[in-house]
Amino acid sequence: MIVSIILKKLKQAVTDLLPIILVIAFFQIVVLKQPLPQMGEVLFGALLVVVGLTLFVQGLEMGLFPIGEAMAHALARKGSLFWLLCFAFALGFSTTVAEPALIAVAAEAAEIASAGGLIDSSQETLKQYAFGLRMSVAFSVGLAILIGVMRIIRGWPIHYLIIGGYVLVMLMTTIAPPEIIGIAYDAGGVTTSTITVPLVAALGVGLASTIRGRSPLLDGFGLIAFASLLPMIFVMGYGLIIFR
């Protein structure tokens, strides 16, 4: 019984990974016409990936989804808007501020800005610039989750907010320094980590299913969309303020 469940989950994970294996094998053998290097290492790595993905999905069902929903239910029952918004902001800010991908991008952005002559190249300035960038991204993700939660509670239609955000991004693109635009666009993508996404999704769906008159499908999703839109606006804003 348990064995068959485990086998089924493992099979699922293998299916998830099959495309990558096929693509790499195809290009290696047909296009580049080279044998796969270090076959043993690759197979061992693939095995780890399969086991890891299986465990991760199992953990989602057992841990991350239920805790996200439990927090949403508990906070909605408490009925205090202040604490709910506090939780939303803190969740966004705290999971983003230490995100390794963001630290890497911020450091790289500082290098580019100094190479472009926008800031002087002393270590102190570079660090300060990267730190400011990181803080503005983390703050924007916190604010994004807060706005998203507010939207679920009030039932605002999502498309006005998102389209408004896009228009703002477009307008800012025309006046922001070119060195920051690429980073700003990418910042939206790197902020949402693999552990934050399920938690935030469960929080949104949990809230939407607790509050009367909200549909989980219409109102529960959208938090991640805010979390990838607002950083773009804030990073460009940061660029505009710093470089003026």
């Binding site: 998830d16 990558i20 096929l22 790499i24 290009f27 580049l32 290097p37 290492e41 061992f44 790595g45 693939a46 780890l48 990936v49 890891g52 465990l55 199992q58 953990g59 989602l60 069902e61 057992m62 841990g63 991350l64 239920p66 805790i67 439990a70 927090m71 906070l75 939780f87 705290s94 999971t95 230490a98 390794p100 991908a101 498309h159 998102i162 389209i163 896009y166 477009m170 693109t173 635009i181 690429g182 980073i183 666009y185 990418d186 939206g188 993508g189 790197v190 949402t192 980590s193 693999t194 552990i195 996404v197 999704a201 769906v205 219409l218 999703f221 959208g222 991640i224 969309a225 990838s228």
Partner: protein, 259 residues
């Protein structure tokens, strides 16, 4: 046994950084439970076990990727964008010819598709969407639609790097399409479509795609990695929104026609 020692060292480093990812979440939830909600968490044991599974699973997943797939993918990205492979060994290239990069576009599309299918955050969101929609949104349907969007986006992104056209033009046109689609797409798909833009780019896609972008902009004549290497991730998070809404519109249109 040098390899295994190195591997264990590597794995513990990844495990540690995954734990650091979870730390703020644990602190926040415990803090709220004790200070604000003042209630015990139901099924605590099960939640803790689930959390441990997530951390260990993710660490194994990343360690395996770093061991097997990332090095291979990065080498391949470098080989495919190498001028010696594209123009032949002896050619002297001063101006990039966008027609010569066919294999690069194909590789970009296929690796974009394949990594998106394996992306754990997309698996999570598809799982939730399927549950919430009572089965009308199929997990595989959503994941494949998103993956097609990423494939198209990254392929177009590499084309942009080769031709050197400005990034913002593509993004602005993409936003226009999203805005127009939003007006006509079925209301129930819109939030999910917007979300699918954000979830596509995390643990699996970003490292491979970033390597492709930086490698390509370093080898294409006249490109600057600092300016042109960025932006692929933006493509990967924009186009899934378009394909998810497009797919919903198509299904809606089909069901209308049947009536």
């Amino acid at each position: 046994m040098a390899i295994s020692v190195e591997f264990i060292h590597n794995f513990s480093k990844i495990l540690l950084s995954t734990c650091r990812d979870v730390l703020p979440i644990i602190a926040l939830i415990t803090g709220f439970q004790i200070l604000v909600l003042r209630q015990p968490i139901p099924h605590l044991r099960r939640l803790v076990v689930g959390g441990v599974y997530v951390v260990i699973g993710l660490a194994l997943f990343l360690a395996g990727l770093e061991k097997a797939l990332f090095p291979l993918g990065k080498i391949m990205a470098a080989q495919l964008s190498d001028p010696a492979f594209i123009y032949g060994a002896d050619a002297i290239v001063l101006q990039a010819d966008w027609k010569a990069y066919g294999w690069v576009y194909l590789f970009a599309a296929m690796i974009g598709f394949a990594t998106t299918i394996a992306e754990p955050s997309l698996i999570a969101v598809a799982y939730k969407a399927n549950e919430v929609s009572a089965g009308t949104i199929s997990q595989w349907g959503l994941r494949i639609t998103v993956a097609v969007g990423v494939a198209f986006g990254i392929s177009l992104g590499t084309f942009r790097i080769v031709t050197g056209t400005p990034l913002y033009l593509y993004i602005l046109v993409g936003y226009m399409i999203v805005i127009v689609q939003t007006l006509f797409a079925p209301k129930s798909i819109i939030p999910l479509a917007y979300d699918s833009g954000g979830v596509t780019t995390s643990t699996v896609t970003v490292p491979l795609v970033a390597a492709l972008g930086l490698g390509l902009s370093a080898t294409v004549p006249g490109r600057n990695p600092a300016l042109d290497g960025f932006g692929l991730i933006a493509f990967a998070s924009l186009f899934p929104i378009i394909t998810v809404m497009g797919y919903a519109q198509f299904m809606h249109w089909l069901s209308q026609r049947k009536k």
